[in-house]
């Protein structure tokens, strides 16, 4: 499978990718995007099987990215990896068509629990 990791922080993209490996999901192709706009372009070009996106990014936020994808008819499985995890954001994410939110800080165990049904 191909996984798109979208986060404006280089170090957080590396941590997400490292944690995917530590969780045992190491046989997947990874592509990276530095903000929501780049992720939207990458979804069209790379056709990932899963998007793991930060929420708070410049140019286009994660929730704006999700809305843009869904309004264009793209139904790629989409999950947020975000430092903010309020009930309000969970409701917005769910209404927008996201699978779930993984809150930062996370562990490899969290990734295994949340992603095993998709990547396992």
């Amino acid at each position: 499978m191909k996984i798109l990791v979208a986060d404006d922080s280089r170090v957080m993209r590396q941590i997400v990718i490292r944690t995917l490996r530590q969780a045992g999901f190491d046989n997947h192709d990874i592509v990276e995007a530095e903000d929501g706009a780049a992720a939207q372009t990458s979804v069209a070009a790379e056709k990932p099987d899963l998007v793991l996106s930060d929420w708070n990014m410049p140019n286009m936020s994660g929730i704006e990215l999700l809305h843009a994808l869904r309004s264009s008819g793209n139904s790629v499985p989409f999950a947020f990896v975000t430092s903010e995890c309020s009930d309000e954001m969970k409701a917005k994410a769910e209404a927008g068509g996201a699978l779930f939110l993984i809150s930062k800080p996370f562990t490899a165990e969290t990734f295994r629990e949340r992603l095993n049904d998709i990547l396992g």
């Binding site: 404006d8 170090v11 590396q14 941590i15 903010e84 309020s86 309000e88 800080p105 996370f106």
Partner: protein, 163 residues
Amino acid sequence: MTNDVAMNVDVDLDIIAEQVWSAFLNSGEDEAIFAADDKGSHADLAASVAMVGAYEGHLVVSCSHKASRDVASVLFAMEADEVSQDDIGDALGELANVLGGNVKSVLPSPSQLSLPRVSATEHERWPGTVEVCRTVVSWRGEPFVVSLLSGGHAVHKTQEVPA
């Protein structure tokens, strides 16, 4: 909207800091002391995120150059002498972002979190704010002061890299 600077908020910075350090900075008990003594240590860099909305203020983490280099080294999984200034800015900014996101989750809502900002402490001021609470994490012998400020005008929009 601006907070009443006397606003009471129930934020356990000790717990939030411990969760972040434990998950991302491999902090076993041998490396980190949480709720450490605040000995008025010198800080060279400050990373912060602003909160705007029902709660207005800033979450600030400040530390020495050496401490910031160590954070970047661990988060990027690189040797300390290989990390660049960009790496340090990114890593320290993300540390503030994760701390701020978790703090925001227990503050009055709705509010927005800014992108992180990193700068030299000698150039950084938060006028019109008061400190609501703070904790100190001693990690690898270096203190990190984590402060929640209330009030002021939160206008962070862009991420800056330390000079």
